[in-house]
Amino acid sequence: MLYLHPKLLLALLLGPPLIWLGVIYLGSLFALLLQSFFYIDDFSGNIVREFSLATYEQLFTRANGDIFLRTSVMAAAVTAAAALIAFPIAYYMVRYASLKVKAALYLAVMLPLWSSYLVRVYAWKLILAKEGIVSWFAERMHLTWLLDAVLSIPVIGGPSLSISYIGSFLVFLYIWLPFMILPIVAALERVPASLTEASADLGATPKQTFRKVILPLAFPGVVAGSIFTFSLTLGDYIIPGIIGNSRPFIGQAVYQFQGTAGNIPLAAAFTVVPIVIMAIYLTIARRLGAFRAL
């Protein structure tokens, strides 16, 4: 009988997940954002539940501005590098690899995507450590001078790879790379072979075909992947905590505020920044067709 009442059936199907997500997830998000309009009383250290923009004012200090800048620049750098590295890999997988090789590569990329986040971060700590593999390798290849030169670059260098922006950049790049590869693979697969053939038929060289036909069509995949790399870098607090200097990223700042400091309003206000950034990013991405590539 439910069959004859499609609306009722729809309500029954959609209801539970919607209620769960609406209440638990959206509700919590809303509760958090609500708290950003409260503020901490300086004397008692308690949260004052009155509407105020005082907490938001705190976002505009120099130190906090640095945090936002630092995180955004890192996110952008990681995204750009990931796109550059992921594209050839994805291109090879779709256009050249035989079925078996492609399946193996696909699996190989998928495995780290879904598992072992901490393990892989941890692994890099081992590798980048001062007495670790990279140093050993540099020594063997007589490239220690190169390593030292890299480490002495101002701002992004540091005492060792595991305590520097370069280090955190490398780790971010490594961890998020699968997130970039797979959407590009999906987008490239959606480009029918007949299009490249048509382009060749109309006189274009392989390079031109790539630039004018394949690249634009694969671009939504790149944008889709970039959503993840950008967003995940923006909010991550573990990687910069384990591999990086002590200057905080957004994620770490939020973690500190809500933790021992108990400054939930400031933590909440801080999270608004990446949310706003991502909202803008997602709108642009949608315009560029990334949602169809997800």
């Binding site: 769960w20 590295i85 256009r95 990329v109 901490l118 490594y174």
Partner: protein, 277 residues
């Protein structure tokens, strides 16, 4: 999937050696650090990450197994993973069925809502849940961990099941009813077998995701320690490094298996499980 012949027909020449080498190396490199971890689990040195390894031993595996804190963290991770997966499978399938069957206003909004918990940084999800639970005066426990995990696992199951639904014909349900089966019978004999492998694959991925998750878990746990939480504290304040490595090896093994299974279950379909988060 295109045949190999077609693949080569698409390009008169095979891939340049540099592209091929680069791609294969790149993907291999994704796994090299994991290989190192596994290697270090056999190291005799327990104070630093010195390379090359001073010696090899199996003793740390025994030590790890004896540690009570590791065993209870593992047990909690498994329990939380199991429950979250079941909840996610239920809710994800319902949502997928709803989106597939009906064209209703706000369909795109639903997809966005489902993907938000995974698209927004974990810390945002984490502290939202934490402060909401605080406000509601709900104490932190395994239950709250499950709430967090299930929330971001729903979309994983949803994607897989929806992709499978999209490949099947709506006429199948009508055919079943036409032949005398009511709604429940249709679900049991026609719908469920059809989505079974996709549902299972989604569940496997959800389990792997839950087992590995640390950020949201940190915020929704009370005194409980899941395996990733244990590992994180070890990373910050190491006690016995090789033991941490042993646990890492174990985590790799436990999460690889569901993913392999999910891939295997859906590999001959066009929508391979896990192709997008």
């Amino acid at each position: 999937m295109r045949s190999e012949a077609a693949g080569q027909a698409r390009h008169g020449t095979r891939a340049g050696l540099s592209l091929k080498a680069g791609a294969l190396l790149g993907v291999a490199f994704l796994h090299v650090p994991l290989a190192f971890i596994i290697l270090y689990a056999f190291s005799t040195e327990d104070k630093s990450f010195v390379f090359p390894l001073p010696g090899l031993t199996l003793k740390w595996f025994a030590v790890a197994w004896d540690r009570e804190d590791i065993r209870s963290a593992l047990s909690l991770s498994l329990q939380v993973g199991a429950v979250s997966t079941v909840v996610a499978m239920l809710l994800g399938t319902l949502a997928a069925a709803a989106v597939w069957r009906s064209k209703f206003f706000g369909r795109e909004a639903i997809s966005l809502l489902l993907i938000l918990p995974i698209a927004l940084p974990g810390i945002i999800t984490g502290i939202s849940l934490r402060s909401a639970l605080n406000l509601a005066d709900i104490p932190f426990s395994s239950f709250t961990i499950v709430i967090g995990h299930a929330t971001f696992c729903i979309v994983v199951v949803y994607n897989n099941v929806l992709a499978r639904f999209r490949r099947s014909s709506p006429a199948l349900i009508e055919a079943s009813m036409d032949l005398g089966a009511n709604g429940l019978q249709t679900f049991r004999y026609v719908v469920l077998p059809n989505i079974a492998t996709a549902l299972l694959a989604g569940g496997m991925l959800a389990f792997a995701l839950s087992f590995d998750e640390v950020i949201v878990t940190t915020f929704t746990a009370g005194q409980q320690t899941t395996l990733p939480i244990w590992m994180l504290s070890e990373l910050v304040r190491p006690r016995q490094r090789p033991v941490t490595n042993v646990v890492a090896v174990f985590v790799i093994a436990v999460t690889f298996i569901p993913i392999l299974l999910a891939f295997y279950l859906t590999r001959d379909t066009h929508e391979v499980a896990g192709s997008g988060k």
